[in-house]
Every structure is written in C-alpha cells, then in structure tokens.
Subunit: 283 residues, 2 copies
C-alpha cells in the first residue's frame, strides 16, 4: 500500500473536524473547571497564605477550649517615659556580620529571649512557630555549607541584577563566615498548619505575619540582653535546612538569625534610618 493511500484512508484525516471539536470541548471544560475550582478555593483562603488541605468534618470543634473570660491584669511597663526609654534601647540595635566566638553567652539568656518571642500574638492564638537554637559546631558548619552553596547560585543566577546591585553597599556576598563564628544560630520556622491531639490538621491563620512579629520581639529581647544579631532570609535554603534539623513538613524556614557578641573590629554599613515624618502619617 502506498503512503498516500494510507494517509487518505486514515480515520483521523477523514473525521478530523470531529476530533478537533472534541479537543476544543475538552479544553473548554477543563478551563472552566479550573476557574471554578480556583474561585471556590479563594473563598476560604487568606491573602498570601498557602491553602492547606484540612479534612472536612461536620463536627466542628474550636482548636482552643471554650472557657469564661477573665479580668485583664495590666503587666509591667518601663514608665516613666517608657516609650522613650524603649526607643533608646532598640535604636542602638544594628545588624552585624562579624561575631566573636568568645565569650559564649549562656544558653539561659537565649532561652529567656525565646520565651519573650513566644509571647507574640497569633491568629486565633495558634502560636505557629518553632525556634531551633544551634550551638553544635558541626551542625553550624553544615548549615554554612548549605547556605553558601545556595547563595552562590542566588547571587550568580537567581537574584535579579538590580537586587545584587542593591546589596553592594552592604558588602555582602555568598561567603557567610558568621554562620560558623556566631556562638548561636536561631532558625525560626513558621508552622503552616498544626496537628490536633487526635492527629487531624489544624489551621494556622496568618502564620507568616504572626511568626515575623515573634521575630521582632526576639530582636528586642536580644538587644535587651546586650547581644548582637543578624536577621537573614536565606533564599532557597529552607527545604535543606528543614531536613538537616529534622523538622516536620508543616514547618517552613522564615528567618535565620546569627546571635552573639560583636568582634572587636566589627564594622557596619554607614546607614541612616528614615525620619519619623517619613514613616508616620497623622489623621
């Protein structure tokens, strides 16, 4: 049989309009289904927050116990002039990259700082955070290897050239000596969902904002303790660091902090902060 005959007799060629019609219908329906699915999801999803698959159940129970409310008792403050005194405390904080490995701050100081961070408010009081405190030199070394390997690719390939340019005044590159020099690394993980006592998934509302707020409180606590720190958000390192520290899959790395005393010759970028009038508007 000749090739032309074969092609001519092919059912595909003979009925191609019908095949086409089928294809068009298939993709139209697929497109409509996708949009519908997206819309019905959106209804219950927070801005910027991943939707997690939570088992649906008719028997809805709150994650917290329902108890009568109690009288509010005001806590301590720094008055008189509490706000001014607090501003003077935190305005001396700077991100440093040059740490001294000695003296090593006592672990109890770090613990008190993390206790302070744990007082942060959170969506529906879910407290969606885990603070991993690393002092073992071997673990710090592996963290540094993971971060430097990714950062080399970040600087050379993943980051926009404008980003690399914007970092130039800070004199940073992919070499992260502070990860092995600082006596403590604190890796703050956000818990994207939780687990109930019977193993069901529990929603963690606004977990990224809540955990970042806890990070802000931690920075103040470290400053109060006379410790210096560096906040970093190592791009693309989350999964490898999560695996290294054996954290469960519901936890995602948000912030990696280096903590300790500054080295004697520690230098910092010559930066100014914005004026109050640049960041505050009155109504």
């Amino acid at each position: 049989m000749e090739v032309e005959t074969l092609i001519g007799s092919s059912k595909l060629l003979k009925y191609w309009p019908s095949f086409l019609m089928g294809l068009v219908l298939f993709f139209s329906i697929k497109y409509l289904m996708k949009n519908h699915k997206r819309k019905s999801h959106q209804k219950y999803t927070l801005d910027n927050e991943e939707d997690i698959e939570v088992e649906e159940t008719d028997d809805l129970q709150p994650a917290l116990e329902e108890k009568p409310h109690v009288s509010f008792v005001a806590g301590l403050n720094l008055n008189p002039n509490g706000a001014e005194r607090f501003y003077k405390l935190v305005q001396g904080r700077r991100s440093i990259r040059s740490f001294s490995s000695h003296p090593k701050p006592d672990l109890s100081i770090i613990e008190d700082c993390i206790r302070a961070a744990g007082t942060a408010p959170s969506g529906a009081h879910t407290e969606p955070w885990t603070f991993c405190v690393v002092e073992d030199p071997e673990v710090k070394k592996t963290i540094r290897e993971i971060v430097e390997q990714e950062e080399l690719m970040n600087y050379s390939q993943r980051m926009h050239p404008q980003w690399v340019t914007d970092l130039r005044p800070l004199q940073t590159n992919h070499i992260k000596e502070y990860l092995t020099l600082a006596p403590y690394l604190i890796l703050i993980f956000k818990q994207t969902y939780g687990l109930t006592s019977d193993g069901r998934r529990k929603r963690h509302y606004y977990n990224e904002i809540s955990t970042s707020i806890a990070g802000g409180i931690l920075l103040c606590a470290l400053q109060a303790a006379g410790l210096a720190s560096l906040v970093t958000t190592p791009l693309n390192c989350g999964p490898a660091l999560r695996t290294l520290l054996q954290r469960p899959v519901n936890e995602k790395l948000l912030i990696l902090l280096a903590v300790g005393y500054p080295s004697e010759d520690c230098k910092v970028p010559d930066l100014q902060r914005k004026q109050l009038s640049d960041i505050m508007v009155k109504y």
Copy 2:
C-alpha cells in the same frame, strides 16, 4: 429567504473546521506563552512576594549610597539580667478588645513607639513601612463602618466554618466597638515597592516580613509605655482603608492596631501560652 437556507449558506458553517483549527492554534500558543512568561518571571521572584514591574535598565545603581563601613558601637541594654527583665515586661502583654476612651495617651508617646518600630531591620535597608496614626473620631468611625461591613461578610460567607469555630473561644464577631473606643488606631502598611528620587520603581525585598518585624517591635514599645493594644488583620478591608487614608497604590494594609488603656471592666480570654519546650529545639 428561509432560515435553513441562511444557515446552510453561512460561511461559518461551511468552513467551520478551519475556524476550529484557528481557535485551537490560538489557545495553544496563548497557553505556551503564559507558561513561558511565568517561568521567566519566577527566576527573580521571592517566595510569597508579589512580583512588581520594575523598569529594566542597563545602568544599574544601588538604592543606597556606597560608603565605607564604620565601626560598630554597641547600644544600650537592660543588663544585668536583661533577657529575663525583658521577658517579664512583654509576658504581661495581652490583646484586649475593651478600651477606655479616657485618659487619652499623649501623641508623643505614640510617636516614640513608632520611632522604635522604625528601627526594624529590612531587606537591603529598604524600610518598607508606613504607620498611619488615626485619632480623628470621624475617620475612626468610617474605618469601623468599612471593617464591620466586610467582617459581616467574612464571618457569614468568606471564612471557612472551621475558622469561625476556632474564633469562638475568643468571643469575636463582626462588631468592632474598639475601632471607635480606642483613642488611637495605627494602620501599618507594607510598601510593596518604593520610588527613587527620579521616580523609578525600587524593589522592596521581603517587605511583608520586614514590616511584620517592625510590628513586633511596636508591640513591645507600646507595652513599655504601659499601653494596651490589639493586633488585627481585617480580611478584604485593605483597598477601602487605603483609599480612605489616601495612601498610594504601592502600599498594602498589613496590620490594624487599636491602642489605648484598657477599660475598667476589661476581660480577656483565659489563654495559656505554650511552654518553652514546645517552641524551642536545641542542636
């Protein structure tokens, strides 16, 4: 002319296979283009962060001035026992919903608290935040109207039933009396991008995490000043509140804080915080 003849002679009917083929080609190309665009964008985009359109230019300049670094000078601390004392300060903070409209804290206290918040670290020192302080009763009233209208829809339609159930122990609903009772509202906007002096768009790296950290510092400052507060993230209210406060389109509402002294009969949920061993892991 009869209808059948009209339909029979229609060019659409006669050449419909060609029309179909055209349609299939059109949507295939569109689909491929879309995927290609998404991939090439992803390369320079942060997790969880919206990509902004920044004009491309060959002449890359850093947003900050390039200056020699300077010696680090340690700031104040709260030692001895700084970490412990700071923990005792912040552990007394509670989110309250029942404010007293008098006495009204002096605006200078709020200003010092915002100065403190402005010391937060930020991606490439972009300081991507704006604090809108509202004391005008009319503006507060309009804010309350906007929030209550959206919250009614949130509670009844937008929020997942589990979410509404999880909020039950906190006894919240769509009525937000604190928005008019609290002497101050502070609306914290994240700036998703900035503008250079010559009007070009400037990237604001990690603007949500940075602004949330500033929010955490603000909470500590308010506590230090003896003021109570409530952190809220009003779902779907951002655009209307941005318009009301005449903030530019690069600013997005992140947190709405009510600030003031608690009412005499102020009650709070009977909550416990997690233990240190539940939030900290050592390595």
